[in-house]
Symmetry: C2
Subunit: 79 residues, 2 copies
Amino acid sequence: MKATVAVRPKPGILDPQGEAVRGSLQHLGFDVTEARVGRIVELELEATDPAEAKAEVERMCEQLLANPLIETFQIEIAS
Amino acid sequence: MKATVAVRPKPGILDPQGEAVRGSLQHLGFDVTEARVGRIVELELEATDPAEAKAEVERMCEQLLANPLIETFQIEIAS
């Protein structure tokens, strides 16, 4: 079973990587007013039940994949 | 206009960050057989036409946001 996790900086939290991307894009001549950079983590799981898989990935986010103080995460489960 | 870019390592390309995540998750006791790590870049653009915005973001990917040798990118435009 596959899971995709999108981890994004929370609104209002400083995102230096996004700031660097915005600056570089503007320097290249692109009309960008804001850029925010997050991560995608794609997982292949042994779990076969979607609800169980989602609960397991939530625990992974809390323990390793995201920093809940400054990041949000969003989980999608695909068979 | 908002654009979301998902940048992922191409299949078959070594992904050391994904390998580290897989190893750490397994060490924590999770049943994960594979992990791949990519980036999400969320942009706020001045462009007002969706087709024009998509073409501009494609150029950003080619010039800065993705390394086409080892990464794929996927663009979504939202108003």
